[in-house]
Point group: C2
Chain length 341, copies 2
Amino acid sequence: MLKVTLKKIAATLGVSTATVSKALKDYPDISEKTKKKVKSLAASLNYKPNSFAQSLRNQESKIIGLIIPTIVHHFFSNIIYGVIDSASEHGYLVITLQSNESYEDEKNKINLLIEKNVDGILLSLSDKTVNYKHINRLIDDGVPVVLYDKISRSVNCSKVIINDFAAAFNATQYLIDTGCKKIAHIRGPLKPQTTIDRFMGYKKALEVNNILFDDSLVYVSDSLSFENGYNIAPKIINDHTDVDAIFSFTDLVATGVLIRFKELGILVPEQISIIGFSNWFLSKITSPTLSTVDQPGYEMGRKAFTLLYNELNQIRNGEPIKHEIVEIATKVIPRNSTKPI
Amino acid sequence: MLKVTLKKIAATLGVSTATVSKALKDYPDISEKTKKKVKSLAASLNYKPNSFAQSLRNQESKIIGLIIPTIVHHFFSNIIYGVIDSASEHGYLVITLQSNESYEDEKNKINLLIEKNVDGILLSLSDKTVNYKHINRLIDDGVPVVLYDKISRSVNCSKVIINDFAAAFNATQYLIDTGCKKIAHIRGPLKPQTTIDRFMGYKKALEVNNILFDDSLVYVSDSLSFENGYNIAPKIINDHTDVDAIFSFTDLVATGVLIRFKELGILVPEQISIIGFSNWFLSKITSPTLSTVDQPGYEMGRKAFTLLYNELNQIRNGEPIKHEIVEIATKVIPRNSTKPI
């Protein structure tokens, strides 16, 4: 009901719903003239600024939507767990949907959630998402959105991220600190910002340590799979007989490399060190155990819900919405697939 | 609204809502006298049997609830994945909640879902659930419930199970077929039917093969954790120097045993064979890889939704509800932690 009225006012006055919403809340970036027109029309529709908070409170569904790119992934399972725990503590329920890394699915599933009147949406972008109109439209319509993990700088909303650049820099620096000099990188698909940032962090660490960047040492794994690591491993040692370390963008691929090296009789870390990314459970039980970067999914899930919850409270209280960008700390977890410093 | 009317009729006539619902649908197990009274009162409340299907259709939320005991578990992640995929294909959304293996939480979360008017609930019982009134009440109120994985024979509803007894029998038989004679069993907590059945399957396989059951060879792991296996492993070999195989009720615990044995210099499978249960991803990457029993979570999740969907259609069409019990097939996956046959 609320949104219908907002839209009606917006359409009648030829402004955006965001402008109407802001005008009713006396945002400083809306002109006095517009505020007056909006409030006057709102009053004639029996839709007063003071009733805003009240009517919103009444229409809250206490259900939020959580869109994840793919579920069978230790990191995203932990995200779900963190979101559900935190939401539960605040009396919210969570509808979880998968985008299956598809842009079309992402749009469709957002629409489904909106039809169900969810109070807000937590979203990690699919790898195929090419533009952000569908998300910006949501935000303009007053639906709080929090992006987590795979985000875009082109969307103006709250975000929970890890600093992938710094994390990858630290992982590479760690390899260098253990004496490695010729470090290959298995990177993820070309599109998502997370894998771009990890690649850039790797590159930067080489540069800072005066190690020449060599494009032929970078291998692309088009998906997050054990098999990819298993298949890339022999290519790396065929292309570069003197490679002494590998930084993989994810533990699953690193584990594939580890197992193939064992089959090929290559000693880890004596001949080649390996460091992964994410700190999946499996990295504790590989042989040797896998050094990695801890990427705390549970904490990220909790924080994503908290940011959404804060915005819902701001809306309920008629306060201006404050977007927050929160960076979750990562750290290198040294195990036995790298040499001691 | 519908349920309120049902309850009103039930209260007025002093019968259960289930009876009212069945009377309106002409179930053969309700007397003609009761049917007449119910229908007459329903008509006076402008609540006619023919309007049942229609009013139900209109009030469908197209949201179902999924309660899982714990999320951070490969098997349950796959359940979620299966349920969401199947629900999505039929236009349903899924609210996922955790009972955290707590009876109180389970009751509270069911209530939360009912408040949100979910169309039905998929539930795996918590290990602490001691009675089933809260579930039977739901079913009496006409809310379709499907139990999956951890079920109770005391609840009359559709169920998706694996035959844990047969699966454990086959795992133990497999160890015997490879020449093992003194087989320890690490069982789960005493309560859930799944771990009872696995224990009974182990015992039966010994019996069938004329191997004397020895109570001291059965170890209890009170939770599903890597650490438990790691800690139980040395106890087993201290208590029984001649043990030649271990059947663990879950891969996670088996992996803890595997790693501890490696540290202790015990050769697997040369000295002791190990077989797990569940076919977690990690069982493919341990060293040696872990023989196990495949427990197909994804398939179970899909099937659980399908059974719920069938009941929703029966309700919508005013047909009698048919409960189904579906058993998902399991199989032994031989890997390198057991000897060849």
